[in-house]
Amino acid sequence: MDVSKITRILVVALLACGLAVSAAAQTSVRIGGVMTLEGPFTVLGQEAVRAMEMAFEEVNYSVAGKRIEWIKESSDGRPDVAVGKARKLIEQDKVDILIGPMSGGEGLAIKEYAKSVPGKTILNGFSAAQETTLVNPAPNFFRFGTDGAQWQAGLGSYVYDVKGYRTAAVVAGDYSFGYTQVLGFMTEFCAKGGKVKEKIWVPMGTKDFSSAIARIPDKVDAVYVMFGGADSVNFLTQYFQAGGKIPIIGGSNVTEQTVLSTKGPFQRHIIGIPSAHMVADGIEDPAYLEYVAKYKKRFPDGLAAPSAPFYGYYVATKAALTALAQVGGDLGGNQGKFREALAKLKLDTPTGPVILDENRQAIANIFVTEVAQRPDGTLYTKVVKVMRNVNQTLGQPRDAFVARGVPSRDNPSCP
């Protein structure tokens, strides 16, 4: 009897809540954001929020005469949660456009979800798994940022030609993003004739890297390292404490602003580490300097410089706003016009122009950098080489590139 009572009350409550959701006003455009505001990727999520805020403020929250309503949701980095939040934004909050997510696994999951909501458009935030747009792309999923393999363009050649490294060992996170970055690095390094003698994959969840460090062979010219955030700090700290002398080549996250902004003794040792990414703190272009100045003025409590996730969400939001302006805010016909405008968009970003390929994946500039110190003591990534218009197949024919298979522990290999 009480079961029925409870159920009845709950059903009534549910209905009340359900009906309370009013139809969205047509004079506005609803844009949703999915970012990680909890768990280990929190700092990246905070940057994503700042990015969208700055992009919306630039247009005073209005585009083509329509007001922008911004609704954000937090994931914790788990694909299931990210999809759940995307569903909520699209199906409950009725957003027209979704921007996100943050990490690779989430991106793959949201791309699959995108296929079930063909009338909506999703612009990738910062997730950089290669497969997301390379294999079975979704027609309504756009990525205006480059992927994890693209981010390493130029690095392999740079360390081979300029640094003179001929052999290397790899120490990297044992998950898809690690494999992807290593593929990006090795593609060029191996093509030049470099050898990667040993790959040491460290499982996610490892606290103490000391025994992984102990496995690094003595007779290599350099160690390629790829960890993110706190793991990166921990690895570098332990490496230098253990008296590590072999020079380090950094994956994109190793010299990311979230790591460089971390205060600690490890900072003394990381100056000079070469790396590559879709952004660099040391870009001298006026557009970039203006972007940095704006960030610092708007977010005094932010990082020393806008981070890569900030750039990812900022560019995605800018792309959406630009295309919306081009079509006069017309999202009718299942957003057909809007999507067409997005696909053809040539977006000028703080780091240079971005265009999309046929899979709606960005072709953009990549910056090879070295960590350097400013007079005020803060660390930044100094540009040593710019790779222009890097595409997803790293300049190789698409068929050949896809045929090599997805990156894994053993792919590629050049011992």
Binding site: V3, R8, L14, L15, G18, P79, G84, G105
Partner: protein
Amino acid sequence: MLLQVSAGWGRIARWTLMAAAIISYPHFAPQFWVVNIGAYAIVLGIITLSLTFLAAYGGMVSLAQMTVAGVAGYTLAILSSHAANVGSAILPWPWALAIALGSGTLAGILIGLVSVRTKGISLLMITLAIGMIFFYLTQQNTTLFHGFDGFRGVKAPIVFGMSLREPIVFYYLCMGVGIALYAAVSYMVRTPFGIALQGIRDNPRRLAALGYWVELHQVAAFGVAGFVAAVGGVLSLWYHGGISPGSVGITAMVNILIVAVIGGLGQPRGALIGALLFVLIQNFAIDLFIRERFNTVIGLTFLVIVLFSPDGLIGIWERLRRNRKRGLRSAPNGATN
């Protein structure tokens, strides 16, 4: 006499009303409320039901029920996945489904076998360890479990030309399965097996002296719970369209316990109530309260319930009802104590 008859009619009316509400709900509620709140709460409720069954009638609080659900989910994903890089279905879906449910049940039995010697907190801990082993196994193994990325793009089977994942179909599927499992569990606790199980919960030594094989009953209970959790795992796979290590990680494991405790660990129906509240908080805490601090809201809600009502929402409900009845009865005397 007259009173009883009317009570009977009232009861029938209530049940009819409830059935009508359940059946008609998806026809006027928005789709989000049908699937993402309604159906998902039932899926979560089913996995939690397996825990409340173990806890309420066997006195065994396990953290590994999400693991069991994950075993079933992963098995089905491996056998019938259409996901990128995984190739096409290996088996026709009914076979895959049967194997998935079987493997989940088996996982439940195995966990039972390993852990029946422990009880209370130790049982919680051994199931935590087993859950973590499975989590890291799925994360580290790339050949079978597809590593960190897991499986994506897994589709529910198509029956009579309808995908089981169609919003309304999925809602009815979950509701039907949920009611059937709830009925089965309610029936089972009245069978000799269920009564023996409760006897073991209260006094294992006496039952052993009476000739009952205590461990066998407990392992069987884990098997039953394993089946229930496996059903939940399969529905969860279809709901999410995939599974990855995060689905069976420590957060997911602890969430099941939190759901069970919010609803009330003592009774199976607490599972659904807890799941509903949990899903509502998960979805709307960010809208209703301080945007950035919704985890504080979840934590505080949980804390308050544990501190003030050890038997969860069900307990609060029953206490309110009892107080009201007592209030009515004592009103004529004017006694208030």
